[in-house]
Each structure stands twice: as structure tokens, then as C-alpha cells.
């Protein structure tokens, strides 16, 4: 059994040591951001210190000052919107489903993509404290919520060397599909 590394924000060079497939926990501050928040930050600037920061792809359900449900959203929607964050010092992106080659290249030598289990909104919320909000005018799902995490269990999906577990799984699935369903012509007797 591999030991699980406990990460704490702000993140630094320690993320460069992580390898795709490692299980980690994350504590400290994360900033939620989906499509609209990324577009706003590109336009108006990042409203928090991006050095060592963590972005969480999530549109939570918030009631009063409480996080009710906050599972991850599909990260691939943000594939073409994440480069500027990494250039400004963001060290980790958290979401579900992986992010593809472009982001894997942008993460090289800089940071990691951490996968959280899709649908686990209650588990996530039980380890969260709401600290603040930016861009609240974007609405509940799209605003940037500042959330304090207590040991959220994650998997390194893409490491800082460009290894991507989702890419490998997809390649294998394609090969298996081809093997199983390619048309086999019967040789004439």
C-alpha cells in the first residue's frame, strides 16, 4: 500500500515530486471556478494571490454561509481556459474526468491536475468551510467561492512531467474495442 501524501496550500515545489496515480489529500484554501469565472479572470485579472494557489472546477450549492454540496464538474470544458492561471503561479487544478494534452503540456514543470470523485458532493461539503466569494454577480454555480478544505482525498491525474492517467486508460480502451469489434473476414474454405 502506497503512503498518502498530505498537501497543504499554498503549494510549492513539492507538487513537482508527485506522480500520476498517487493518492493525496489536500488541505487549505481553494478557489472554485467554472467557465464564466475563467473568462472574467482573463478579462479583469485574478482576484486572489495566484502563487501556489489551487483552482477547483466546481459549481457548489451554497445556503447562507454553508457549503451544502460541492462535487467537481467536468474539467475538460476548461481545457483552453487554464493556461493563464498556470503562468501566474497556480500549482494545481482540481476537477473530474481529466484535461487532455494541452493542459498536460502547460502543467509541465509547474503543477498538477488532481482528480476528485465525480458526484461526491456530500463528502466534499463535509470537509469544507466557506471563507468568502468573488464575482458573486456570476451566480451561485459560476462565482469564485473561497473554500477552506480539510483533507480532501484526491488522485494525481496529470503530473508535472506530463504523465496523464486518463490518456493511458483511453488508449487501452480504444485498443480493446478495436480488438473485440473489428470485422473479421472469414478465409474462404
Amino acid at each position: 500500500m502506497l503512503s498518502i501524501m498530505d498537501l497543504c496550500t499554498p503549494l510549492s515545489h513539492e507538487v513537482l515530486m508527485l506522480r500520476a496515480g498517487d493518492r493525496v489529500t489536500l488541505s487549505g484554501t481553494v478557489y472554485t471556478a467554472r467557465d464564466e469565472a475563467h473568462l472574467r479572470m482573463m478579462e479583469d485579472g485574478i482576484p486572489f494571490d495566484p502563487h501556489g494557489a489551487v483552482i477547483y472546477h466546481c459549481g457548489p450549492v451554497i445556503q447562507g454561509q454553508k457549503v451544502i454540496a460541492a462535487g467537481p464538474t467536468t474539467s475538460a470544458r476548461l481545457n483552453s481556459l487554464s493556461g493563464f492561471l498556470l503562468e501566474k503561479g497556480v500549482r494545481a487544478l482540481v476537477g473530474k474526468g481529466g484535461m487532455g494534452r494541452q493542459v498536460a503540456d502547460q502543467l509541465k514543470g509547474r503543477g498538477v491536475y488532481l482528480a476528485f470523485t465525480g458526484g461526491c458532493a456530500a463528502l466534499a461539503a463535509s470537509r469544507m468551510t466557506l471563507k468568502g466569494v468573488f464575482f458573486e454577480d456570476l451566480g451561485m454555480a459560476e462565482a469564485v467561492w473561497v473554500i477552506e478544505l480539510d483533507r480532501l482525498p484526491l488522485v494525481v491525474g496529470i503530473d508535472a512531467a506530463g504523465n496523464d492517467i486518463f490518456e493511458g486508460v483511453h488508449r487501452n480502451a480504444q485498443a480493446e474495442f478495436k480488438k473485440r469489434f473489428s470485422q473479421k473476414k472469414e478465409a474462404p474454405a
Binding site: 496515480g21 493518492r23 451544502i68 454540496a69 482528480a115 470523485t117 465525480g118 458526484g119 483511453h170 480502451a173
Partner: protein, 278 residues
Amino acid sequence: MIPSPDPALLAAITRATCEAFRQAEITLPPDVKQAILTAKEHETSDIARGELENILANLEMAGALSVPICQDTGVPVVYLTIPPHVPLNNGIYHAIAEGVRTASREIPLRPNVVDPLTRENTGDNTGAGMPAVHVRPGDRLTITVLPKGAGAENMSRIAMMLPSERGQIPKFVAETMLIAGGKPCPPVILGVGIGGTFDGAAALAKEALLEPIDTMTPYEKELLAAVNALGIGPMGVGGRTTALAVKVKAAGCHTASLPVAVNVQCWACRRATVEVPC
């Protein structure tokens, strides 16, 4: 002239609809939970097992806190059976919609229903044709809900296959999952509708998701094996369980047609039935 149902009955339908959503959103049916547990026991990859452990811990937490399992609380899909002595009219549809509004406010549910073109959110999970209500005659008045999240619904597919291609159905089903990858939050349940008409096959595929998953026919097991051979695994991280089950529903079709629909359901297969005494 069709008599209007008794106002007390309509109020009971509203309450029952809300209660069915509360049950479905917070607690998974025992057969689905058991299938996730079994998948965890059979999983050989540490990463995949970790994903399934998170899912099981999440189910415990949702129950303990009485909050929805997932923040995507879905769009409201409702199946209604009504007994012979209850007249079906708009009052019943309105009562169900009112139950959806109450559930959205009280559980609470994320407001997900928007106009398809303006994308304006109605704020209460109702809208034109929403909730989607399907009615059947029955002995009792029952309300079954199937809140459907977008991540899995978006990966669903339909094909008008040729009658000569019926051997290709497993390929179409497996290909649906190959394209979907980790996006629909596997381990999934696949509802497969075969036959009927273009729209009928899709309706069958969704109804198949109402079936208990603790039994499968040999054909369903064959489809399941083809999907799980892909090795996509929980959340697309690789593993033995890509799908928990495949359920098939069939209907007669035109001799020149073979409609096949696959409705993808994430692991949060939320369904619940509440009976209304009448």
C-alpha cells in the same frame, strides 16, 4: 366532462412527489449501493478502489447530513401510475410540478431547468414539458421519480440500425461508453432500448433505468462484459468496473427498422417510488 380530482388528493400528490425526490436525492436504492460495494470488493487497482471508497463514504455522508448525494440534482423525470377511479387531467400534472417546486426549495435542489435557446433559468426546476411526466394505468396511484444529471445524460446515443445489423448492438453499446470515457461518472448503469420507434427506443432506454440491477438476462450480461472489457473504470481512472449493470427493454418494431438507444446513467442512479393512498 371529466370530473376534477379531489383537491385533497392533488395536495397528497404534491407531497408525495416532493417526498419521492427527497428519498431519491439523498439515498441510493439498496440494489445500486450493493452493486457499488461489490465493485469495490472486486476492484484490483488501488486508484479505482479509492474512487469507489469515496463514493461509498459520500453515500454515508449524504444520509447523515440529509443533503443531496450530488450537486447536480438533475432534471425531474416522473413516472406515474393511476388507478381506474382517478381521472387524469391537468390538475394532476400541476400537482406534480408543484411537488418539484417544493422539493427544489426544501431539499434544496440546484435550479437546473433553463429555456433551451435563451438559457434563462426558471429557478424552480419546472418549465415547458418539465417535469417530464409519463403516465400508465395501474392498480394504485404511485409516483416514481428519476432525477437525471447532465454529465451522464449528455453521453447517451441513439442509432437507427439496419435489421441485418442486430449482431452489432454490443458494438454500439460499447462504443457509446468508449466515447463517453470518464465523463458520465462511471461506474455507470446503461439503459438500452431496442425496437419500437425512434422516440420509443429512447423512452425504453430510460425506463430500463428503473429496473432493479441485481438480476440481468444472459444478453444483458453479454453487453455488460463488452463494456467492462474496455477497462475505463470508476471515474475513467482505469479498472474492472466501468458499468455496474446493463438493462434492456425491447418493443416490437417495423420489419425494416432497428432503433437502438443507450441512456447513460451515472453511479448515482437515483430512483424512488411513493404511493398516494386514494
